[in-house]
Symmetry: C2
Subunit: 490 residues, 2 copies
């Protein structure tokens, strides 16, 4: 099976698509641009959801649910929001079908036209702030720290599984605060949560930064982001956290009585990550043999394959395996025992390699005699035969090691393709090689646009950490406050 994958060096885009399909993660559906997330892919998403949800709750947030539909007029209430936001949306105009004259199909009932069209939410700031108006009267009602797990639709013309789909799943946090400082603090706190999740769970190093005005979320005063680097040298924006100022409060007239008895508009943040993270996860670690999953997000961390001839051997092996499973479970290690008889061990080995299961155990009749078991790790593709006695703690250590190793590998790769570039001539050559380029920029949209037009590279972010030495813009020679990160991106 694994042989059917394209190689990364040959055709990276094809390799990605092959992998998503063959590892049973997702596929295209009958509806243009909408994907089906298959059970194995969804199980990874559930792990992502579970960890993020826990982190949101630990930082004081609650979940809620707001309508799928947004009245069309809401979108134009916040000027920058409607101006900057893509207008490719799914529009509901009717609310009823009826039988066709021949009775063989259904048609849209022309009588059932909505007075005002409804937009399938591309993001929920407008419907949520129209709701918050009723929730907020006084400082006592603040802060509101709410998150929503939902589906959203943006009618993308060119779609790619997980990376860019018309419908996708995401979470969107929407918070309301009494002061600017508190809203800014929240915006930055959630960026920190995203970065911690990306690094500790996805094993994906990210750079925290601020978007240039050009790349800012429509309606935000400031957009914070985490940027990751894929194996092909292209950047991927993995999460954003927006400081919305009082823009949406003003658009929906959400005022509150302050502690001091005055009146003010409410301050806001919003922040989100989506099923796009699945694409980032896949591209961060996988190889030409298939998926490589970090143990902390693998639907099952260990798979056990019995090697046997006949029922009696299988019975003997299964007794030993079940003892081991119970020990692994005590250590909170998730495990699948694949004793199905419809497939041969070789097929199973290839299958679980393709699916990125971190550790594969194989046990046969000779292992029973010798008290051994074969342990194979997915990330390095190495294997060894060890004593089955105490192997559970060995596996526990191994899983931690895999988590650390793949993070380090991704980190080292990123470091190897991150470099400072000082002239625009050099930039044009270097950008073709991929990676993060640290360059001085004069802070203007014109220069940013020129670079984009010339080279297809964009400013991924103005990094929050690291070198803050001023310099001169590589294009115009004008002053630059600090180096920013350029890359081509997903």
């Amino acid at each position: 099976m694994a042989k059917e994958l394209s190689s990364r060096s040959e055709n990276y885009a094809q390799w990605y698509n092959d992998l998503v399909l063959k590892a049973d993660l997702a596929e295209n559906s009958a509806v243009r641009g909408c994907m089906v997330i298959k059970p194995y892919g969804y199980a990874i998403w559930e792990k992502i959801q579970g960890e993020l949800d826990r982190m949101f709750k630990e930082t004081g947030h609650s979940n809620a649910y707001f309508p799928l539909f947004i009245p069309k007029s809401f979108l134009s209430k916040e000027a920058a929001h409607v101006e900057g936001f893509a207008k490719e949306c799914a529009v509901v105009t009717h609310y009823r079908l009826k039988n066709s004259a021949d009775g063989k199909s259904v048609i849209v009932d022309p009588e059932a036209k909505l007075e005002e069209e409804l937009i399938v939410r591309p993001t929920s700031e407008t419907i949520i702030w129209s709701t918050y108006k009723n929730w907020i009267q006084s400082y006592r009602d603040l802060p509101i720290l709410v998150n929503q797990w939902a589906n959203v639709v943006r009618w993308e013309m060119r779609t790619r599984l997980f990376l860019r789909t018309a419908e996708f799943l995401w979470q969107e946090g929407h918070t309301a605060h009494a002061t600017k400082e508190e809203a800014l603090e929240e915006t930055e706190k959630m960026l920190g949560v995203y970065a911690e999740f990306a690094e500790n769970f996805m094993a994906m190093p990210v750079i925290k930064g601020i978007k240039s005005a050009n790349e800012r979320f429509a309606g935000a005063l400031e957009t914070y982001c985490i940027e990751a680097l894929m194996q092909d040298g292209k950047a991927l924006q993995a999460g954003t956290s927006h400081f919305l100022g009082q823009n949406f409060a003003k658009a929906f007239d959400v005022k509150f009585q302050t502690k001091e008895g005055g009146e003010d508009y409410v301050w806001a943040s919003s922040w989100g990550v989506s099923t796009r993270l699945m694409g980032a996860l896949i591209m961060s670690h996988s190889d030409d043999n298939g998926l490589v999953l970090p143990p902390k997000l693998a639907p099952f961390q260990v798979v056990i394959v019995p090697i046997y001839k006949g029922e009696e051997q299988l019975t003997q092996i299964s007794i030993r395996v079940k003892e081991l499973i119970s020990k692994l479970k005590t250590l909170s290690i998730s495990v699948k025992y694949d004793d199905s008889d419809t497939r041969k061990p070789g097929w199973k080995f290839a299958e679980y390699e393709l699916k990125g299961v971190p550790v594969r155990l194989a046990i046969g009749a000779r292992d029973l005699e010798n008290g051994t078991i074969e342990v194979a790790r997915r990330d390095t593709l190495t294997k060894e035969t060890v004593s089955i006695e105490g192997v559970e703690t060995y596996i526990q250590t191994l899983l931690n090691d895999i988590q650390t190793t793949i993070y380090k590998k991704a980190f080292d790769y990123r470091a190897s393709v991150t470099r400072e570039v000082n002239s625009y001539e050099e930039f044009k050559i270097e950008i073709e090689k991929g990676g993060f380029l640290l360059c001085h920029w004069d802070g203007t949209t014109e220069t940013e646009e020129k670079i984009k037009t010339d080279t297809k590279a964009t400013i991924r972010c103005i990094p929050l950490d690291g070198d803050k030495t001023p310099g001169k813009c590589m294009v115009t020679g004008k002053p630059s406050a600090q180096r920013v990160i350029f890359a081509r991106s997903y």
Copy 2:
């Protein structure tokens, strides 16, 4: 606050609506028929989801995700499905907005009309079976045991929070099997899961049964259901499980190679419960003071309110409370400590009563001296002062007792209004009093329709358990195989 609720006897429907609003469970949104599920309501839904999801996984199911949109033509592929299913659907006809001529608003771009309209899923059989066609070739690919948590839209004209809304949240299981027996077994198994969940977690007694042909799901050969009885004597269908036969496999041409080398259409089931369960939960146990929640689904089972004068007393109390919280957590009891200084204890008492928190603890300076704490239970509204030493195990027992007590109360109520009725004259009188009426029926749709027209009562189900003695139809005198359950319903 609680005083603002209408009483049940005065106006049951108003009481329900007041309660949903005032207990912060949900509210109507700016979009007709769509609700906002508020954080406290959503926290209950998350408990419901968590338990059901665990039960689905324990019975071998995996989650997946299918598109929000269904091509219009798909709906007419299964004849009975399109015929019987309500055609009140949200229809997407366009995919782009543009600025209006005056630049002040957005309009639908007439150029961006879809070739084929898309329907926002009212249920997903069609899109899922069009997908399963690609997943199933051989008996080795079966069974498929998939569930989806999703939002669905049915354009209801008269909506009520949770009970009937245009958009609602639900889960829909869709399974594929090699044999009729296996598909039927699955249909019944999931009905059992729903019944177990309703009784053990929601503390809501239900009757398992089969729907009459008239009330069957459009496209199913048989619809199983669980029926509950609300405090106003009206029935509520709490979950359905459909045996779909080979109808959808035939409509979408899903065949498989059998183990014996032949070819056959795949057998199917589908099953679902929705946020309607929230309505059932609220109406099963709550009283004129507010919500009464079963401990197993309460967002927090215990609330602790300190009664203090001044910071120093609060500090002393908080030390004692924090010890108790840590003991409660060891016993997996969820607890909220409300030491906020913006509200008085009396306000808090009323608030948590309204919100149905099963156990409320109050502790003041005198309690500290005496080593006591006040324990109030929500269901009976009784309270007592007990020693704080070992109170955690006392509370554990109390929570179990509340769970059992409210189930028993609902069970006894149902028993008190469930009776056999033998003549149609009697039926017309009895149906006005509410409750479940066990009657003989001749099995025809005509008779069922007549009864519905005359009395607004429907057959809730043909019960699976209980008395199976044959008799004569109360309306026509024709033979009846067993008594069926009639009621007016939500």
